[in-house]
Amino acid sequence: MAVTPNYYETLYVTRPDLSDEDLAKIQQKLLDSISSNQGEVIRDDKWAERDLAYEIQDHKRGIYYILVFHAMPEASKQVEKHLQFYNTDILRFMTLKITEEAANKNKATQEETTPKTEPAAAPPNPEPTPTVSATEPAAETAEEATGAPEEGGAQ
């Protein structure tokens, strides 16, 4: 059976004090191993910086990066090998095979986020932007009140 390309999602956590150069070096290796296997990178983003749920190598915080790509299985193996090699900088990593729809959703969200930065860069915008204050008070509080079970009827 012929090997077909798959969609993969890799999430990896780096040390919070990792320098930009070292990070760039690691990320470049990941991208290289994808492109050398005729792969296509769909998303390469910083996902979040957050407190870890438990300490890993005495680190309490970590920076999460996400990498979504479409490539042959060999590429994902190489990506994992690189991440394993830098295991003092990369605290955790996990690669999952994902569906095409899930991968394309990533593409859509990235396209949504990129135009947001573009209007900020374009200075000529004399129109005052009307600030729509659509602050609706949360109407969810009523929902929680109806959960009390009735117990102990006749004792």
């Binding site: 957050r50 749920a53 438990y54 999460y64 996990m94 009827g153 006749a154």
Partner: protein, 78 residues
């Protein structure tokens, strides 16, 4: 006898949230998953979560992935 017992333990029939609502199970969605763990960070059983068997299995896998990535704790003792 039976009818009285039924009445005493009557509770509203739960419907699986993941079947009825258009929400996806994702190990990165910590806010959603944290609703399905107890105070002691254990996975909520099916009788309490109200999920169907399929989604409960998915939930367990997803929470375990999330734990591995240090998004959720394994215990309160960390």
């Amino acid at each position: 006898m039976d009818s009285r017992r039924d009445r005493r333990y009557f509770s509203k029939k739960k419907v699986c949230r993941f079947c009825t609502e258009p929400i996806e199970m994702d190990y990165k969605n910590v806010d959603l998953l944290s609703r399905f763990i107890t105070d002691r960070k254990k996975i909520v059983p099916r009788r309490n979560s109200g999920l169907c068997a399929y989604h409960q299995r998915q939930l367990a896998t997803t929470i375990k992935r999330s734990r591995f990535m240090a998004l959720l704790p394994y215990t309160v003792l960390h």
